[in-house]
């Protein structure tokens, strides 16, 4: 046998539809991951209706709406980017992708400010019974006034759900940057756009989840 450098890859005919089907299945796992959060939210909301509504009032609907529209717009540019690439316009695809990345970043920045304001008001990690105090967390300000448990749960969920969502945005952004580089290099091109397509699907899913997060946190106060 002669010298061979590459690993033996099983030559396997490329099945775009199959890959996409698999990717959709992966998206469902993401969906179920958030579903667990939504379930927890639903149960605690029904247990602590009043506290949840009071707590929700401290969230800024304006910022939320703004962010929703930003994400929707980024979804639109994502679609356009894919359409452009399919039509053979790689340059234009890159431009649209730039838009998407910028909008994604804008979402994160706004979210960052929103979180920052919450931290300043010590809305994070307060417990009624002061159990946390003994555990020496740096994040806790023991002198701050304690919130009712229902509100603590609300903010705990708010932070973990929007936090997980933001994490997905970050992953999406990194992925888009990689895709961007690959389009520049030509390895993603009008004949081979599967990666951009999947990246887009992922991004739309992130948008989809926000579509549900938004009313549940900002609107039903």
């Amino acid at each position: 046998m002669t010298e061979q450098t590459a690993t033996v890859e099983i030559p396997h005919h490329h099945d775009e539809t199959g890959t996409r089907l698999g990717f959709w299945l992966f998206l469902y796992t993401e969906l179920f991951l958030f579903a667990a959060f939504f379930l927890i939210y639903a149960v605690y909301r029904s247990n602590y209706l009043v506290e949840f509504r009071t707590a929700a009032e401290s969230l800024n609907t304006g910022i939320g709406t703004q962010n929703t529209i930003i994400l929707l717009a980024s979804s639109l540019t994502m679609v356009l980017s894919l359409n452009a690439l399919k039509a053979g316009k790689a340059r234009m695809a890159k431009t649209f992708l730039q838009f998407t990345i910028t909008l994604g970043l804008a979402f994160l920045v706004i979210k960052g400010f929103e979180w920052g304001a919450k931290f300043d008001h010590h809305l994070f990690l307060q417990t009624t019974k002061g159990i946390a105090a003994g555990e020496g967390s740096l994040l806790l300000n023991p002198s701050a006034e304690m919130l009712p448990v229902g509100q603590v749960l609300f903010f705990g969920l708010y932070f973990i759900m929007t936090g997980t969502h933001a994490l997905h945005i970050v992953i999406g952004l990194i992925w888009m940057i990689i895709v961007y580089v690959w389009i520049s290099k030509g390895s993603i091109n009008p004949d081979n756009y599967g990666t951009l397509e999947r990246c887009g699907l992922y991004w739309h899913l992130v948008d989809l989840i926000w579509i549900f997060l938004f009313p549940l946190y900002y609107l039903v106060a």
Binding site: N47, I131, G134, G136, V149
Partner: protein
Amino acid sequence: MNGATSVFVSDVDFSFWLIFIISALCLVGITGFVIFSIIKYNRKNNPEPTHIEGHTGLEIVWTVIPTILVMFIFYFGMKGFIKMRSVPENAMEIQVDAGMWWWKFTYPNGLEQTTGQGLTVPVDTPIYLPLHSVDVIHSFYIPAFRVKMDVVPKAEGEKLNYTWFEAGKPGDYDLFCAEYCGLNHAQMLSKVHVLSQEDYDAWFAEASKAQAKLKSESPGKALLISKGCIACHSTDGSKLIGPSLKGLIGKTETVLTDGAERTITVDDTYLRRSLNEPAADIVKGFQPLMPPLPLTPQEVDDLIQYIHELSEETAE
């Protein structure tokens, strides 16, 4: 088990034996058929298999029959369960508290019984038991009565889990904790004493009097029992899960504070801290297992007072 030790026994055991008989018949049938086949249709005896793909009629039969059987099983299980969840109006209420790793039973007049003393109840009287836990989930289990319910800690304002029973025969029965709750889960054992009505009345009067006396004479000692401290601390110098409370005052000890060792002498300030924030100083050689217990300042003072008394006893 013989006789009806509690009102649930007949329902539960009826269901049990019903399922048992159905199961045994199924199992014997299946195993019998397998053994019959491997003998009769062994390759030596039967080298040519017969081609059979299926038989719709048969398949319908063995879909329908199990369906009917399981619905029977379901019905009787549900019947027994509904009884377990329906507390009679006239039931006598005894509050059950549980913690790591003790039980406490509080009677309507405030009489408190703990792990070692057990739960004493009159025969033929329904007893309603709200179940409350101060730390993790425990489970209140009396095998002989077929009674089990988890003792779940609840957030403020939420309804407690509950159970009830009516004992049918005087005697002593085991009471277990059936939900894993840490190191001493297997030792969270107590007893149920079922007494005839007269015996119970006599016992109740006696016990209430004794407790009132203890409370007035040595409130600290009473607290030690009612707060469940004695589950982990002895008063005679022997080492349990926590250090003994005997001869504590003035003792020099090595403790771990925030991971760093330091040597202290036990005094009131240290004790106060030990009681209010058990995790702050960990006595060397022990695990950080002591739960933060809700104690009022008055109770803390009483406890410290009693720990002093214990130390004086040794000095004598």
